[in-house]
Symmetry: C2
Subunit: 345 residues, 2 copies
């Protein structure tokens, strides 16, 4: 029998259908190899990209020259642009504003054929530090209400350049997904004086059936009402609302956890396409002294990374209802991932 | 410059990126032909499906035998099942209920190779009447809070059987998308004593730039904050909350409008994959005399069909933020569709 499950964080129901194809072999896909002549993200091709915004250059090499290990550049085809005024205005019943924001690309490694799961823990930690550096910098621009990192791996037409990279985007509005999480967390906190994430983590650690990895510092689990097969949540066990407050040492531990998680997915789903996103509390805009609805929120939020392998198609049902339909119960997904053979590359 | 646009109905922002590929030739896809030996939906293969629930049989032929023109059967692999109790229960922080509901397939034509756009207006009207009949029947089951029709055309892994069909699903909860529409419509009505849809239609008819077709009975337009390229709204101009109240004559007019719209999409996007959904007011559950939040809603809602060609991929950005990103401004989409060459098949 299929089941409807409600997630107090997303405030949404998922239909866990069970029964239709739901195990890893049902999802194996042939990966399309995107061939590129002269990848602009490769070391040596720096002149093919806009000038870098930030780079980790262990050898003290020159900007926009080889020698970097992580490199951040503006997106050449940005969804949002940094120049201009918001010009928020009405048009009859509707509203519009200019597409002001920032859209950056984090190139994770100078070599073309290394995926995030292939990096050393130290290399991955530098990528995570680059996220932190760029978030802190963009926060200073008061036009941006939210800044988040996302990554599309192996998704045709989404990851146009196969060279491993993530993206960072700053938007002039709190995105709806974040607004929901902030308000469910706040309601929970107001009622119980406890963090909703911390409460979830206690329940998950107790039941264990959806936990993939728990290394005392971070927990990795398949959410109870997972919208997608093998969806995962990665979060610090110690309460923390703001990713940018993580120390270098904590990011090294996160790199270990994240790499292990990506390798588990790679093992059981044969290098599946996936997306991940990093959600942290929104920057507060206190410096102008204006009332800010979100200003007091951070303490009741909890930063985290969500990972979703792209295994199923979203079509009329999901689009027309807002319900997600997921054939794989998260308890089964977690079991496959716990038992993954990590020698598979 | 890209633009953020807010839709008062969906209460959501879309980023219209402009500039990246956005015209019809940028979206042309090679259609994968799904070969099937002995299609279960073809006339003559009735024994390969579960027994029919409803059929339009102009020749008074026998149930589950050839002679039908439209045939409705239970989905062989239903997402939700009609038998059982809801058993709504908590599990710590979470909630779950059994997957109770109905999941039916409307086979639109006995022949295998006729798409919805190929039907005669009279044939399509019979499909629309079958939707009405089934909605009215399922409404009598008080476990179902909402009933809606959707169709996936040409979408790999979603439309498993290429023979033209739609699906109808009854769910034990108001879906989140409908809940949003019902509440935005209600708020608008409470403030202004006017229907939000009717107000939109006035504004669209005045500006004309997003209107594809206006035949006095129905309006077809590209919504101001379209989430997807070439997304369309089809709605009656006369206020009506409930699809099932449409007369045979009105459904014949709708068939004409809908077929014309599908042919325009086929012409400019070369038979694109698409989904459509039919949203109508939820059945009220007054007979038990229990207080029902939705009971007084219908008058401030307006039934409609939304059509979304499946041209772009949803990935990390959309999933992680809840914003949609759409490269094609609806004004451009409407212009292409208004000027479509309807002789193309």
């Amino acid at each position: 029998m299929s089941e409807l499950r409600w997630d107090p964080l997303k405030n949404n129901w998922t239909i866990i259908t069970k029964g239709r194809g739901r195990r890893p072999p049902d999802f194996l896909q042939r990966r399309t190899q995107v061939k590129m002549s002269a990848c602009p993200f490769c070391s040596g091709n720096e002149e093919k990209t806009p000038p870098e915004i930030y780079a980790f250059r262990p050898n003290d090499s020159q900007a926009n020259q080889p020698g970097w290990q992580v490199r951040v550049i503006p997106n050449k085809f940005p969804a949002l642009r940094i120049e201009g005024e918001l010009n928020n205005r009405a048009e009859g019943l509707y509203d519009r504003m200019n597409g002001i924001g920032a859209h950056e690309v984090i190139i994770e490694h100078p070599e073309h054929d290394r995926s995030m799961a292939d990096l050393t823990i130290e290399e991955l930690a530098e990528v995570l530090k680059a996220y932190r550096t760029r978030m802190l910098d963009l926060r200073r621009d008061s036009r941006f209400r939210y800044i988040f990192v996302f990554k599309n791996f192996g998704i045709e037409a989404s990851a146009n350049v196969p060279h491993s990279h993530s993206q960072l985007i700053a938007v002039p509005l709190i995105p709806p997904m974040i607004a929901t999480e902030l308000s469910t967390c706040r309601e929970h906190f107001q009622r119980k004086e406890r963090c909703l994430f911390c409460d979830r983590h206690s329940q998950e650690r107790q039941s264990k059936e959806r936990v993939v990895r728990d290394d005392v510092n971070f927990i990795v689990y398949a959410p109870y009402a997972s919208s997608f097969p093998f969806e995962l949540m990665v979060a610090p066990l110690e309460h923390s609302h703001d990713y940018t407050l993580q120390t270098d040492q904590q990011l090294l531990l996160l790199a270990d956890t994240l790499r292990d998680t990506l390798r588990r997915l790679r093992s059981i789903l044969r290098d599946p396409p996936y997306s991940f996103i990093l959600h942290s509390a929104p920057p507060t805009h206190l410096r102008w002294g204006r009332p800010d609805y979100w200003a007091s929120l951070p303490s009741d939020y909890h930063w985290h990374i969500e990972i979703a392998p792209k295994l199923t198609n979203v079509a009329g049902f999901e689009w027309g209802s807002g319900f997600q339909m997921n054939p794989t119960p998260p308890e089964e997904a977690a079991e496959f991932l716990r038992n993954a053979d990590l020698s598979v590359t």
